[in-house]
């Protein structure tokens, strides 16, 4: 319903991740220490969102997490909406998310992409960190060359991101979002006033802790933080998920 046209059954790419630490049986040692690059943790790898206990049917190709539906699922009391934002979410829920931009193959945006079941690949380069997303075959750049955030950025779905290391944690600051972003399927809004801080810490070879703090005074009464931890998706790679290729959902989205 939400993700629009999924690809046909994929032939998963099987290719051993070069240089990964392995156990005697050849499996990747996911609890080995996090690799390092130029004195800092190396966050490079293909990552997928943690999903609490999948049902008896298993997890399927694209296991979901509660944050996909409600980014504040683990926040006590839920996200602290401003009254207008609470009304908007109520209205969006009542219309079964009919107006969700991603249902029309528009970008999910950088924050919501963390919650998508299809994996993402982090490339850590000198001067920037790049995140390639299987969903939408899109990318995001986080500039690490010391530049400041721009004063008047072009509003975008991904925002403009700069990062720096605090100890072993990569701290990413972003602004420059456009109005009208949906953070989850429920329709939690984010406005162009938003400032987002993401904290990325690779605790060992197989785990990446991701903490996202959204400070958007227009839509929320106070800043809030959610955890979107990721596990390594090794010996594979991203497929091409083109929402708009053979997209048939649009004509059937009636809502209420």
């Amino acid at each position: 319903m939400s993700g629009a046209a999924a690809t046909l059954h994929g032939q998963w790419l099987n290719y051993p991740t070069p240089g990964a630490p392995r156990l005697p049986d050849g499996k990747i040692n996911l609890s080995a220490p996090a690799p390092r690059l130029a004195g800092k943790p190396d966050l490079s790898g293909v990552w997928q969102l943690d999903t609490p206990g999948c049902g008896p049917e298993g997890c399927g190709d694209y296991p979901g997490a509660p944050e996909f539906g409600d980014l504040g699922a683990q926040v006590p009391g839920g996200l602290p909406y401003q009254p207008w934002a609470a009304d908007l979410v109520k209205q969006r829920s009542a219309t079964i998310g009919r107006d969700d931009p991603v249902a029309r193959c528009r970008p999910a945006g950088a924050i919501r992409l963390w919650t998508y079941p299809p994996p993402r690949k982090i490339l850590q380069l000198p001067g920037e960190v790049v995140i390639l997303s299987e969903r939408d075959v899109t990318f995001r750049q986080i500039f690490m060359d010391g530049r400041p955030l721009p004063n008047d950025p072009e509003p975008s779905f991904n925002g403009y991101s700069v990062g720096k290391w605090q100890g072993d944690t990569l701290v990413v600051e972003s602004t420059g979002y456009r109005d009208g972003i949906w953070l989850d399927r429920k329709g939690s809004p984010m406005t162009n006033a938003a400032k987002v801080t993401e904290r990325l810490r690779r605790v060992n070879y197989g785990r990446l802790e991701v903490q996202v703090t959204v400070d958007d005074a227009k839509a929320y009464t106070k800043p809030w933080t959610v955890t979107l931890n990721q596990h390594l998706f090794p010996d594979s790679d991203l497929l091409d998920y083109y929402c708009q290729d053979n997209e048939k959902d649009d004509a059937h989205m009636v809502g209420r």
């Binding site: 032939q11 490079s44 990318f139």
Partner: protein, 258 residues
């Protein structure tokens, strides 16, 4: 340059769909590039190399001078394309119908080599194992694995194919296969099939100029391989913008053709 190119794109493409509203170009000085005494990038300085001697193609590039997205073979004589008969008929049909069936009207990526020719910048980045091209157009990317792996025998067919590369002297040689059945090599509609194998030789001639020597080998659509050379110009002191084709796409209803 980029501003002008948008308009060129509109006229030639008709396919590229929703353009962003007037963009505020991102200006940020590229670090570590050679500059003339007045501070401008020295685009005719020697081509850089990586510390290990590999050619350094990193940077933001635009196709040109010249526009190849309308007809990737524009430098060849019209009868130089070795079409199979059905492919010639199809190409002529696409010409007559003003490319109304162009798949990029639905916002899928241009593919290979068309994405090399689309008049929007792309950024080449390197990791140890791969070369990645970030495309402003459709805000997409292509991974080119340079870790020695072979192309898969039975890849998932897709618009950008599956690319593996190797270094050959001053060139990066990229071999791509695994395409969908209905590739368009340009806006004009030169066809490519699932049998297509594209070889791109990227060579940086000096700091600000590069070229891609492209060979199309698709025995289903062409009787023999054929090649074109596409020039590239560096775009220093800027960054990619967010190009969202699917937003406010008004082109589809206007793709009427005949």
């Amino acid at each position: 340059m980029r501003r002008a190119s948008f308009h060129v794109a509109v006229v030639l493409a008709c396919s590229a769909a929703a353009l962003p509203a007037h963009a505020q170009w991102i200006k940020y000085p590229s670090k570590g590039i050679p500059r003339t005494p007045d501070g401008k990038p020295n685009l005719t300085a020697p081509a850089p190399k990586m510390p290990d001697g590999r050619p350094d193609l990193r940077g933001i590039w635009m196709p040109g001078p010249g526009t190849y997205v309308g007809n990737i073979a524009k430098d060849l004589k019209p009868d130089a394309i070795p079409f199979q008969p059905w492919a010639k008929t199809l190409y002529e049909h696409r010409q007559e119908t003003q490319s109304k069936d162009d798949p990029t009207g639905w916002c899928v990526p241009g593919g290979v080599p068309r994405s090399d020719a689309v008049p929007y910048p792309f950024k080449i980045i390197y990791t140890d194992d791969e070369v990645v091209i970030l495309y402003e157009a459709v805000h997409s990317y292509r991974q080119i694995f340079v870790d020695g792996r072979q192309a898969p025998k039975d890849p998932n067919p897709n618009w950008l194919g599956y690319s593996v590369g190797h270094w050959d002297g001053d060139s990066l040689v990229v071999e791509t296969s695994g395409f969908v059945e209905n590739s368009w090599l340009d806006n004009g509609g030169h066809p490519g099939t699932q049998a297509m194998h594209v070889t791109e030789r990227f060579r940086r001639k000096d700091f600000g100029h590069a070229e891609i020597f492209i060979t199309i080998d698709d025995p289903k659509a062409y009787t023999k391989p054929w090649s074109v050379t596409l020039p590239l110009q560096l775009q220093p002191d800027t960054e990619l913008l967010e190009y969202i084709c699917t937003e406010n796409n008004k082109d589809l209803e206007h793709l009427v053709g005949k």
